[in-house]
């Protein structure tokens, strides 16, 4: 080892730091041979002793005791920092879950409320295969009179009829089987009295020429054929109106 290399390790050697055993022995051997490096090592060792003395002299020094009391007081009165971002995120999640639950409950309630109306309607359809009572039922709905409905043929009535259910596909299909005109008041009846009163509907067959009596066009090719018509009778047994069915 030469003096230059010795200079690089002299501090570590004087401080007693961990170093390779071979390097350490080489450095010590060099200091034995070189007076300058021996003096350099002596200086470093004295400096280390001086620093260690200073460190041990100050080892027992501590901050004043009242400082702890001040800090604890400050700790008690410190503003509490709340992690706003995390809390707001969890709130968003809770709001989203609550909204989804609300939507799900609304759908279930909506379906549940419509369920009773469907079942009785199916029962009505099974009990009344003929189209005639359905037509009268349609009329009863048109004039919206409970007493008229009471006079119609007895059938199980749904507890609750939602307006939407009246436009169900099965009703529409039934109506499309027959094409009917509007009820035409007979000459001695007014349209207002027709709306106010209920009655009974009876289907009849009339000569096609009867169409002309009510101002309707007549197909001359089928002049001899009959035409179906529904006659509305009032509660007093008098005919009130008529409509033609095809």
């Amino acid at each position: 080892m030469n003096c230059q290399r010795f200079e690089t390790v002299v501090s570590e050697l004087a401080r007693g730091q961990m170093m390779a055993a071979e390097q350490r022995s080489e450095a010590l051997a060099h200091s034995d041979e070189c007076d300058g490096c021996a003096a350099r090592l002596g200086d470093e060792q004295m400096l280390t002793l001086g620093l260690q003395s200073l460190a041990s002299e100050m080892e027992s020094l501590e901050a004043p005791r009242e400082l702890e009391a001040k800090l604890l007081e400050a700790f008690r009165t410190r503003p509490v920092v709340v992690p706003i971002a995390k809390r707001s995120t969890s709130r968003y999640w809770l709001a989203a879950i609550a909204a989804m639950l609300l939507i799900a409950i609304s759908v279930v309630v909506f379906r549940w409320s419509n369920r009773p109306a469907d079942e009785p309607r199916q029962a009505v359809k099974q009990e009344q295969p003929q189209p005639k009572p359905d037509v009268s039922n349609q009329f009863a709905r048109d004039i919206r009179k409970p007493d008229v409905e009471d006079s119609l043929p007895q059938r199980p009535k749904p507890k609750r009829i939602h307006p939407v259910t009246l436009r169900r596909p099965e009703v529409a299909n039934h109506v499309t089987k027959e094409i009917a005109t509007d009820f035409i008041p007979l000459s001695y009846m007014s349209a207002a009295s027709l709306q106010q009163e209920g009655g009974q509907i009876i289907r009849v067959q009339l000569p096609r020429s009867a169409l002309a009596n009510f101002g309707l066009p007549v197909n001359m090719d089928r002049y001899n054929e009959k035409v179906k018509a529904d006659v509305l009778y009032g509660v007093d047994g008098m005919a009130r109106a008529i409509r033609f069915v095809q």
Binding site: D43, L51, K70, F75
Partner: protein, 215 residues
């Protein structure tokens, strides 16, 4: 038989003294006052001494110690245990405050021969004879002044590695530099210390040129 009477507070403090610094910090941030107390008692000494050795002033050391723990209360959540220990973190914060304070007070200039007004932390030891005691005290005082006269970047390395006995690795964490930088700064700092102490030693050793001891 006398049963030692301990209050609930003391018992809890004793229990917490077994907890490591990271857990104490976590508890403190959660609002545990005892955790702060235990952590303070455990770490205040090294913070205070570091600030005192860096500044040479008791008042600055007290202020810095207070600032460090106030910072820990407010911003303790920034501590990352993957990057180092709580002790190194506190010394790093202390270093920032010391440098800021010294810069504000223009104390970064090398000290002259006049001693600081409140540098009364040197205490004599009574185990040795008065003459040796005086020599030792003078030696320590001269080393202290030499350390304080170092440029800050060398001074903090000398204080941490030599006076605080912090490892090279932790010193590198505190200073935010490489271990090689710490080694080279320490080497340079020691060389500067020797250069500052040698003239005084030579004056004392007039007539005894072969003796180079200054401690």
């Amino acid at each position: 038989m006398r049963i030692p009477v301990t209050t609930g507070l003391h018992r809890r403090m004793k229990l917490k003294s077994d907890v490591n610094d990271n857990d104490l910090l976590r508890l403190m941030l959660a609002g545990d006052e005892e955790a702060l107390s235990v952590l303070y008692r455990r770490r205040q000494g090294s913070v205070y001494r570091f600030a005192l050795q860096m500044s040479g002033s008791r008042s600055i050391a007290e202020d810095v110690t207070q600032e460090v723990f106030l910072f820990l209360m407010r911003e303790g959540h920034v501590f990352d245990d993957a990057k180092g220990t709580v002790g190194a973190f506190l010394l790093g914060v202390a270093r920032v405050h010391v440098r800021r304070r010294l810069r504000a007070e223009h104390r970064l200039e090398p000290l002259g021969d006049e001693s600081d007004d409140d540098d009364v932390f040197m205490q004599s030891t009574s185990d040795i004879c008065p003459l040796e005691d005086l020599t030792r005290a003078e030696t320590i005082e001269s080393v202290r002044k030499a350390v304080l006269s170092l440029p800050p970047k060398y001074r903090e390395v000398v204080v941490l590695c030599e006076l605080q006995d912090v490892s090279y690795g932790e010193t590198a964490e505190i200073l935010g530099c490489a271990i090689g930088t710490v080694r080279s700064r320490l080497h340079r700092g020691r060389a500067l210390l020797l250069a500052k102490l040698r003239p005084a030693a030579d004056v004392e050793e007039t007539g005894a040129a072969t003796v180079r001891c200054f401690a």
